[in-house]
Amino acid sequence: MKVQLMLTCLCDAFFGEVGIAAVKVLQHAGCEVIFPESQTCCGQPPFNAGDWKASRKIAEHCLTVFDPAIPIVTPSGSCAAMMREGYHLLWPDRPHTKCYEVGEYLVKHLGITEFQSKLQNPNSKLKVAFHRACHGRGLGLTDEQERLVASLPNIEIVPFAQAEQCCGFGGAFAATHGKLSSGIGDEKLKNVIDSGAEVLVSGDMGCLMHLNGLIQKEKLPIQTKHYLQVLAEAIA
């Protein structure tokens, strides 16, 4: 099963470990991972900002980078939604790109719903609050990523209040509407910390970068991790 990895610009610039984890998890699931090196950005930042002209330019480039015959997978719901649904808004006449969030691809296309942990001490449970990133809504995702993490014996998923609420990132919104964005994020973090979770796990580095920025600025007692890193650590 060949798949092409769309790394995403955030993982390209800051969070390489998430990309590495994605490759490890996909390979573990039996995929042959291809990484087209001339990939850049999916075009989402200008798309969300309202500059569709600039977005189309980038999207055109992106579509030439990837082979349309091979599924594209990406460790971000929002980039997957951009390439699959956003491009369809840019060009309503073109077919939807075959692009999937990694967990979505594993669960819905490969039928994988659990991972075996190779950790030495599977009985010491890590309390995890799982934040479902909002772009999963645009992809029709529900609990796919969370289910994979919950299948690990060393993980205990803890519920928290107002779980369905957005983290407040919203791309450039976090910078242009800083007060609103941080207010929404602080509410999310408060609910997560109140739940007793040790780690906040999610599937989008946009959300996690924003929440981490708040956690560090306010010195809050919680850590964050991408769910693919949690999976990769367990199967290593």
Binding site: A13, E37, G50, R137, C166, G170, F173, H177, M209
Partner: protein, 631 residues
């Protein structure tokens, strides 16, 4: 960086206001889920059906409007067309001047359409005294404020603020008890209802095939405003039509569930025209004003789907930005996700296109919308259009970014420098980001370096060794239930009815145990011994009426006009006693049998939750509802 208005507003909003809005919104989001789960087997399917029905209405608007006008005229309703706010205000003022040339009280039921045309201002200028009679809207009016939510206008106020306002207006001794505050408003507004010659309302639905105007509410003020005065004027956006009465059960349940977390609202008023000869009360004139005000234009463009909106407010309640900023931040009658699309669509993207920026695009609004309006996609389209016409300017030069992002070499170099660059160069994103966030830094290995080293070394047995399977495993959780709605019923419909009625603040009773108080009786009731009676419905302690039938699944009773009955008998006395013989199982069956006379579906007691979400019974209508089953 110049801040956009919603962010600017949020920055000066006291934390207490944010807390009020956020808590009430979260509560309503939760009760919506519970209500829809109890109303529908499959609320997802219900939403899809409702979206299709509204789409068909928009597709056939001219024909349906023709039908509506014809059937309204047949019912004795006078129909007027207003192409914009100015015309609508003029039409309404002309009616007022003819009916009450010397000015006077105009009682108003809650209506977003009248807010949209700023009707109160025009009425005041012409020498009238408009009185908002919904508890929340009344508070807004005496405070010279504006509603900050389309369903819960005082979501931003707490009970202390309301108590101070009531004390200032001499409504009674200072109290922070919601029930006492509601009673003070009840007493004050009773006089207004009695003395008003004109009542004005909005419209929730107008039915093309019957010409019926449908109004829903919980307090009873809407029924009073549209029943007691000499003339009733209803103002309606042209899109708020349904083709058939049989569409109503779906929409009534979706609207009540989405808006207030109820199965049905207390009152569903089905107005079939002016008072007829065999009716004891009701307005002698009914006017329907059809308001365009930009809607025809919106119908032709890319934001047409927003006209499916039934004004439930669920998208406001669930929206993280609305919860932080409150409705006032949007600077328009329509706020939240709905307003961020509807306001610029109606009033111009050049003026209000910036509202589309006040969103994280999280998609929660679309997920809760009872008519599945794709709000996030429309916000994206609005951003594109607003950018193209120069109404909004982004702090980032995306053209330059795009050039970089289409050249892989420079792009890679740029990315590798970014973690450093973000620390030194001041730029707009950094200033905005850095105010509340630490800047991101590189964590661990760089992917591209790792990938290169992986490619040159053999893989560690991963490829082909996993647990992958080829078959797609799309989940097949199909619901087997044939229709999207109806709830399972207990075998005895009266048993279901009683349990519902009790949960809604009503109870079953007998004629023998009625309290010895002064009663107003429907003329077609048999004589009840040992009961002191009055002919003045405003003075009665008890109103005793007949119901046509009861509805088991919702615990409702259905009353219709005719036989010289008084509509106010079920409304003005503090206790409503209703005699009923027959019962139907579902709301769908009820609509198949409801008469074509003006009718009301009563589901529980009059109620409000306007003050901090606290439930108060008996605000304008009866506090007590006793149903007596007749064999």
């Amino acid at each position: 960086m110049k801040r956009l208005p919603v962010e600017r507003f949020a920055r000066q909003l006291p934390q207490a206001k944010t807390d009020s809005v956020r808590n009430a919104s979260a509560q309503k989001t939760q009760s919506r889920l519970t209500a829809l789960a109890s109303s529908f087997y499959n609320s997802e399917e219900a939403r899809t059906q409702a979206a299709q029905i509204k789409d068909e209405v928009l597709d056939n608007l001219p024909e349906l409007q023709g039908q509506l006008v014809q059937n309204c005229k047949r019912n004795g309703v006078q129909v007027h067309f207003a192409k914009d706010s100015a015309e609508a205000n003029q039409i309404i003022l002309d009616i007022c001047k003819r009916v009450a040339p010397d000015g006077g009280i105009v009682v108003k039921a809650k209506s977003m359409a009248t807010e949209e045309i700023h009707l109160n201002h025009h009425l005041e200028e012409a020498g009238y005294e408009p009185v908002e009679t919904d508890l929340g809207e009344y508070v807004v009016q005496i405070d010279h404020d504006t509603p900050s939510h389309i369903v819960t206008p005082i979501i931003h106020k707490n009970r202390k603020e309301i108590a101070s306002s009531f004390e200032r207006e001499n409504l009674g001794p200072y109290t922070e008890v919601p029930e006492e505050l509601a009673m003070q408003a009840r007493v004050k507004l009773r006089e207004k209802f009695k003395n008003a010659k004109i009542g004005i309302s909005g419209v929730n639905f107008a039915i093309a095939e019957t010409g019926r105007i449908v109004l829903i509410e919980n307090e009873g003020n809407n029924r009073l405003s549209t029943t007691a005065p000499y003339v009733h004027i209803a103002l309606m956006g042209i899109e708020k039509m349904l083709a058939h009465e049989s569409d109503l059960p779906l929409f009534l349940k979706l609207l009540a569930g989405s808006a207030t977390g109820q199965q049905l609202t207390t009152y569903i008023h089905l107005i079939s025209g002016r008072k007829r000869e065999d009716e004891a009360d009701g307005p002698s004139e009914v006017h329907l004003v059809l308001l365009d005000n930009g809607r025809s234009r919106v119908m032709e463009g890319p934001y047409r789907d927003i006209l499916r909106c039934i004004r439930c407010g669920a998208c406001l309640n669930v929206c993280p930005v609305y919860r932080q900023a409150s409705g006032h931040a949007y600077g328009h009658v329509y706020s939240g996700p709905l307003g961020a699309v509807l306001a610029p669509a109606l009033e111009g993207i050049d003026k209000l296109g910036h509202l589309a920026k006040a969103s994280t695009l999280c998609g929660a609004c679309e997920e809760v919308c009872p008519v599945k309006i794709p709000i996030p996609n429309m916000l994206l389209k609005l951003r594109d259009e607003a950018t193209r016409i120069g109404a909004i300017k982004d702090p980032v030069q995306w053209g330059i970014y795009a050039t970089g992002a289409t050249k892989p070499g420079p792009w890679r170099l740029g990315l590798s420098l970014l973690p450093m660059a973000s620390k030194i160069a001041p730029h707009p994103m950094k200033t905005g980001w850095g105010e509340f966030h630490e800047l991101p830094h590189r964590e661990g290995r760089a992917f591209r370096d790792w990938w290169k080293s992986e490619e040159t070394s053999p893989h560690d047995g991963g490829v082909g060794g996993g647990q992958g399977g080829g078959a797609s495993a799309e989940s097949q959780d199909k619901d087997d239930h044939p229709t999207a709605y109806n709830s399972p019923l207990a075998p005895d419909p009266w048993q279901t009815f009683e349990s519902k009625l009790t949960s809604l603040g009503g109870r079953m009773g007998t004629l023998e145990e009625l309290p010895t108080k002064v009663a107003f009786l429907d003329p077609d009731l048999p004589n009840i011994p040992n009961l002191e009676t009055t002919n003045d419905v405003w003075q009665a302690d008890i109103g005793i009426t007949l119901a046509d039938f009861a509805i088991a699944e919702t615990g409702s009773v259905v009353l219709s006009a005719g036989n010289n009955r008084a509509r106010l008998a079920s409304l003005t006395p503090p206790t409503h006693v209703v005699l009923v013989k027959e019962i139907v199982a579902t709301l769908e069956e009820a609509f198949a049998r409801i008469t074509d006379r003006t009718s009301v579906i009563i589901t529980g007691t009059s109620r409000t939750a306007d003050i901090e979400g606290v439930l108060v019974r008996g605000v304008h209508g009866p506090k007590e509802l006793i149903v007596i089953r007749q064999e």
